[in-house]
Symmetry: C2
Subunit: 892 residues, 2 copies
């Protein structure tokens, strides 16, 4: 019978992922390097399959495994001319885990296996290095005792410490041979005491136990947790790699090191790595001696260095990607211990991909597929220096509401922020509030970023932050804001931070730090631009932006936005005089006074639209009519209400009563969007007038404005009919008055299940659809985004939900509705333009989904535009690859 469970390095002729599924990632790479003829210490791999059989078999080795391991061990011994733990000519091996996905440090490793009371002597004799031999034996007992026998690591450390005390030394390396022998003896006593059995001297017994330990480590708690976090299947199992040991601690002609084939921070093609003479891998990690830059090796071990450069160049060519490798030099001879895809910064990823295309190593398609779209975030926002961050304590963690980092002095009041910056425009502030409100807008403008104790990812602070491109941590419930007392408190840590003290917030992770952390500026280098040109040549999906101001529109256009997919008009009413007019409108108790107040808002809206049309000239601009319920514009605090009443000339009681009458049990499902616009058509009329007048103003100045008017919260074709009548009538009136015709479209924000189900009917009147995935997800799931935090976290932990449906489109449910809308809508109107707006519009998986279901465009916040462009190109490339594959498989 052929072997099933165990393969010598290079024996199994599988490649890439298939090899990794069978041999684990580490095993596959060792096999592949062996096949390439590289100097890899020989060994063999027990498959992941064996591990799973072990679990099925009640944690016993499956039938045949022992026979195969013994055979492969015999082959290895023959090849090496040594015998495992032999008393004359001993072979030592390492036993390491390795799953199909890399899980660094999660599972177990045993080095120097084969050491025993006899082989240690033979080793000493052979290597003429008695100290190294006893030190290796000591290390082996300690490692085996901890990992395989499960004896508390500290108990070994205690014995070691006592010996050092007795000897009066500080470092392990100061211990002499006799000390090491005494320690070995005490270690063995410890094992006997703890386990009631002698430390196993039989090398086969050692090996069997170590393999079991690796199998068992697949289900240790930290491995389970790692898999949950990294979405790795529990059914994959780990392989076990048994490899002959090489020793870098054999003198000054020996050593060990790690390196990258290119600089993982910058992507530059240059030697990068560290090297330590006369040392084992552990010593590099222990940090007792400072390693040297890898280029120093050229002087110390020139031959080995030359070979290393040759090998790693070959590896990179072979894998067509930057590699992260480990090696050991034993008495001048170089051995490769590991190679894998090197982790890198976004900047390096982009540079390496572009360079490799130029070097002819990979195609443009491969380069594009290689960049993780979300990683581009790093290139588009200021970031906290990751190294500095690692050293700091995370004070609290909130929701990562708007990416980027901000460092500044704490300020607890928006007006105060404004005053401070007016006095000194150089001041950097972080506005910290329980919640922000429209009144805070000006203070937000002058701050570097925002931190709130309450509110979700769609709270005022979060939405405004993303619009402004400023970092925001929202809903950070660990902090309590005492605005009146002038400080914030983190009760769980017992920490207070006063106004004026520095904090640093990371809106990409939700982390909060005390003090002033260093910031890294966004770097948009030549290669990034070049990559994005390629990206645009591949993608089929348009990419627009969500922008409410001319400034945002300009930024987004610089990032490559091809129009505006969502211009929210309500945010235009939050500033200064506007909010007053808005409130006046809301408090009006008849059509006439409402129209009067609306007339005050008209010039603001019009000039906003003119600015946006100018910034987006020649491109479509989708403007959503008023969406939120009216109570969102009213003040909540008594003092504010009193002020408003005074301004409006109403009694406080009346304002309170109106406020009360507008309150809703479930505002998400309440009197908003087109419901409001149908009952109070004068609001829509004012907005349409502003849009059409702005377009006419542009046309007169030869600026190509292309408005698309979008109706929010629509669920019934009759709403569509009524709204289209209101819009067309007003538009016609304005155009007739001005004597100028402009083109515009009328369409629907698809955000209710009913709209999707009846898309065929709605498309009779609607000229475009744009999915509002946030509300559509809320209604399809029946989740209130503001409240769902209470269980979504739990659901993600328990894998009830695999992804947060507010972050990644839920293809099974919400996606079905989107597909249904596309099919039904286009059945009625062939050329129906369909897009997606909202937070998910820039999320790569969602972009891929949108490509697949045939949408025309996605729309996202300005800073996500490049990410969406990249994701769209990846989707198009994958799609065309899949089609080629399926064509091929059909031909075969």
């Amino acid at each position: 019978m052929a072997n099933k469970y165990v393969f010598a390095f290079g024996e199994l002729k599988l490649k890439g992922k298939e090899a990794a599924y069978v041999l684990g990632n580490k095993g596959a790479q060792l096999a592949e390097m062996t096949s390439l003829g590289l100097p890899v210490p020989p060994g063999f791999t027990i498959t992941t399959h064996a591990c799973m059989e072990f679990y099925k078999n009640n944690q016993q080795w499956p039938k045949g495994l022992e026979k195969e391991v013994r055979e492969k061990l015999a082959e290895l011994e023959k090849k090496m001319g040594k015998k495992l733990g032999d008393h004359e000519n001993p072979l030592f091996v390492s036993v390491r885990s390795g799953a199909y996905a890399s899980m660094p440090g999660m599972m177990d490793t045993v080095l120097n296996l084969g050491m025993n009371d006899k082989s240690v002597l033979a080793f000493a004799k052979q290597t003429k290095n008695e100290r190294a031999a006893w030190d290796s034996y000591r290390r082996f007992i300690q490692m085996f005792g901890d990992v395989v026998l499960g004896i508390d690591h500290d108990k070994f450390e205690k014995i070691l410490d006592e010996q050092k005390k007795t000897k009066g030394v500080k470092y392990d390396s100061e211990l002499e041979i006799d000390d090491l022998k005494k320690i070995v003896a005490k270690y063995k006593e410890l094992v006997l005491k703890e386990k009631g059995k002698e430390f196993p001297q039989d090398p086969w017994e050692q090996l069997r136990m170590a393999i079991n330990a690796v199998f068992n480590s697949w289900n240790n708690p930290r491995a389970i947790a790692y898999r949950r976090i990294n979405k790795i299947s529990d059914d994959a199992g780990t392989a076990v790699n048994i490899q002959s040991m090489v020793f870098g601690n054999m003198g000054n002609d020996s050593g060990t090191g790690v390196g990258f084939t290119r600089n993982p921070s910058t992507g530059e093609k240059e030697p990068y790595g560290e090297f330590l003479v006369n040392a084992q891998g552990e010593d590099v990690v222990a940090g007792i001696r400072t390693p040297q830059h890898i280029s120093k090796m050229k002087e110390i071990l020139p031959k080995a260095y030359e070979e290393l450069v040759k090998i790693y160049t070959k590896l990179e060519k072979h894998y067509k990607d930057m590699q992260d490798f480990e090696f050991t030099v034993e008495k001048g001879k170089l051995y490769m211990l590991q190679t894998r895809r090197g982790k890198r910064t976004a900047q390096a990823a982009v540079k390496i991909a572009v360079d490799m295309v130029k070097e002819g190593l990979i195609t443009k398609e491969e380069a594009i597929l290689r960049i993780e779209p979300n990683q581009l975030n790093q290139l588009l926002h200021k970031q906290l220096d990751p190294i500095a961050k690692q050293k700091e304590e995370v004070l609290a963690k909130g929701l990562a509401a708007s990416p980027g980092a901000a460092v500044g002095k704490v300020v607890l009041n928006a007006n105060k922020a404004k005053e401070i910056v007016e006095r000194n425009p150089e001041e950097k502030l972080v506005l910290v509030r329980t919640e922000t409100s429209p009144d805070d807008i000006e203070g937000m403008h002058v701050s570097q970023g925002f931190l709130t104790a309450r509110g979700g990812l769609t709270s005022h602070a979060a939405v405004v932050a993303r619009g402004m491109g400023k970092p925001c941590v929202a809903g950070c419930e660990d902090i309590v804001v005492y605005e009146d007392k002038g400080y914030i408190e983190i009760p769980t840590k017992g920490i207070k931070i006063k106004e004026g003290e520095f904090i640093s917030i990371d809106g990409s992770t939700g982390e909060i730090f005390k003090g002033k952390l260093p910031l890294i500026e966004p770097q948009v280098k030549g290669e990034f631009k070049e990559l994005m040109t390629w990206v645009d040549s591949f993608r089929k999906l348009g990419v627009r932006t969500n922008a409410d101001t001319p400034h945002d529109a300009k930024v987004a256009r610089e990032f490559g936005a091809e129009g505006i997919g969502l211009c929210r008009t309500e945010h235009m009413f939050f500033e200064g005089e506007r909010i007053k007019a808005m409130r006046e409108m809301i408090l009006a108790d008849n059509v006439e006074s409402r129209r009067k107040a609306l007339a005050k808002l008209l010039p603001y809206q019009k000039s906003d639209f003119i600015g946006i049309f100018e910034a987006m000239k020649g491109l479509d601009v989708t403007i959503r009519l008023l969406d939120p319920p009216l109570h969102e514009f009213l003040p909540k605090e008594d003092q504010e209400i009193e002020e408003l009443a005074r301004e409006m000339g109403y009694s406080v009681e009346k304002v309170k009563q109106i406020n009360e009458s507008l309150k809703e049990f479930n505002p998400m499902l309440g009197f908003r969007g087109c419901r409001l616009l149908i009952v109070y058509p004068e609001i829509a009329e004012m907005q349409v007038q502003a849009i059409i007048e702005a377009a006419i103003d542009c046309k007169k100045r030869k600026i190509d404005a292309r408005p698309e008017i979008m109706i929010p919260v629509l669920g019934h074709v009759n709403e569509m009919k009524v709204m289209k009548e209101i819009i067309d009538k007003k538009a016609k009136e304005v155009m007739e008055k001005e004597g100028v015709q402009v083109k515009y479209k009328v369409g629907v924000m698809m955000e209710l299940p009913r709209a999707c189900i009846t898309a065929d009917k709605i498309a009779e009147y609607g000229e475009f659809f744009s999915f509002g995935t946030n509300d559509l997800t809320q209604t399809t799931f029946g989740y209130s985004r503001d409240d769902a935090g209470k269980f979504i976290k739990y659901y993600l932990d328990k894998k009830i939900l695999l992804e947060d449906p507010f972050e990644v489109v839920d293809q099974e449910g919400v996606g079905e509705l989107i597909k249904m809308s596309v099919e039904r809508g286009r059945k009625t109107r062939k050329d129906l333009k369909i897009g997606i707006c909202g937070e998910q519009g820039g999320e790569p998986k969602t972009v891929e989904f949108c490509h697949k279901v045939g949408l025309n465009y996605v729309s996202c916040s300005p800073y996500r535009v490049p990410i969406a462009r990249l994701a769209a190109a990846q989707a198009a490339i994958k799609d065309s690859q899949d089609k080629k594959k399926s064509k091929k498989s059909k031909r075969n």
Copy 2:
């Protein structure tokens, strides 16, 4: 060319609805009676089509109409041997409107047309009744002046009154011939003054103008409003009936009357109607003389009476339904002027239908189809006496939250209600509150009905009322409750009602009356029972009930419920000690204390379930696990919070803080249903334990309990998986402990779009589906039922929505999701049992829809069970008729 627009009575050979569409309802019936050979005064009908052409033609007669009218008039004159308005031998006609649907009093009528200065003399001479002639002329000018010429009716009345004053008389009938002549002269002067033209003497001109007036009356405001309310198409148009006049005021051998073929109140087969000798139709209405019972006619006009009985018997046989007819006797000769389906009470409808089956007139199917299901409501609840009601002013109107009527003394506090009834169990009280809360339960138990100023159709008061079968008017915003001051106020009316004063509320209409209105007891007579037996033999759809208590279950079973489709367990926690334990559970800050509190609830739940299982033995009982968010169980008022804190031994601050932390922005979409049960599985475990222990207890006593455990607010198959594991594990544990096995099913409340879309996946674990149409409508439309009042009324008025989707299932949207679920669910699980629960379950159109899409059952409140049974039978009968028709049409 054949005639297109005008048909003599009986000329056009159409029947039933088809005839009514062309000739209008009145015209069709006159034609049909003519065809039957009954003595109908001859005449002709201008079609509804002509009316619509009139509107299309800019309110001008379409081409050819005049020619046709002239021809038909000539035919009529020939037949009668008279000429319209002739100076020797005049013909007089009536001109009446008549649309396809009866719109009584909405459009115009002109009698005595053809009267002029000459024909009045001829008429006087011919009839030898000069007074009648001049009175007829006077009446004609007045009617024509008002209806056709648009002169204010009061102006004619003023002339009439002045003449009576001058003469010193009180009644019109006291005026003499000369007076009438003077009035005619003054009337003509008035017309000249108002219109600048003489009153038209040309009979053709009179006719042309009268026809125009009838056409125009189709679009008078009251007709438009009537159509909106009664959902009659605006495009139908009215027909015009021109009929030769007969005169019942020709002496004591003449008369006029109206009658029904059976008693419309009771359904008894007996002469029913009124008769007036020597009178015209108008006089009956005017109420000057008291009409006699129709049977008196036998003595006065025996021949005519005999013929009348023969005719109306024939009519009933012909139409196979109870008729409402009008007739006139002119000089001993009987003329039939009208016949139509007679309106009747529910009691009469049922008796007539059953009797007619027994008489062999109609089939059982026809009998069943003839009863409007909602009319049964009248038979199932106490009602305010409709006659007494008409005389009273409606003080205020709220939501018709629970049917039936209550009369009692106002009480504003639930505890006070309890005390009052404890002192005097005979006291009838109506509990009036701003809103009710769980604390009010005992006070609600002792009251006749509830009136609240706030809250919707799913508010606490409404839900409890329907469960108890008590009437409730909810959300009556016109009233203000001053509990402390001891009165309620209706500011719009300036009325105060003190505690202890009587009010009457009608939960079927939402109306509120001051004082003590008489009540009508529900009458469930033999025929009703008989009809329901037939109903059950036809229907395919099961009918279950929504019941939370053994009492409700018993009532429902008496009404024919075949199981419980929805037993809400949360209502079980509102009373006395239970709410305390519930609150303790909610306030618990760890699993252990939560379990301890839950243990206190277990015996209550168990004994509730035992009671319900007993009442429903042998039938399925679907029990929904805890559904609402926890904050619904906590007190809101400061005082209650303080009490709770004292009881629980917590600080007030802590209770407030927990209260605060449970608050939600959109509770509808929040932490509730299975989300709660998954995060706190111990709640579900307690409920499952109670259910299974109760079933075991029953089994031990040989009572066949059939629990079905339903999971609320489920949207993802993984929730289903986790919940089924929790339930099965607990059930197994309980059964093992008790050593008794019981059967149970686990299924899903389908109330989220996502559940419907992924029904195929959910059905892998779910054994039954039950649609919660209330929440499904809320999420599909994105409407919060509590808030949607603000725009739904407006939408219904403007016909944006044709029906309130919370009352009738929205087939286009929500219905599509239901269909999708049924198809997808049964694809996975062929025998999947599917039902519907919630308010709509008893709504006839929804029942029909459920039958069509293949549901297994509907479930509704106990008092709607007979309605649902009837609706289900109607759906099955219609379905089988449609199938027969389509088979037939295929054969042809």
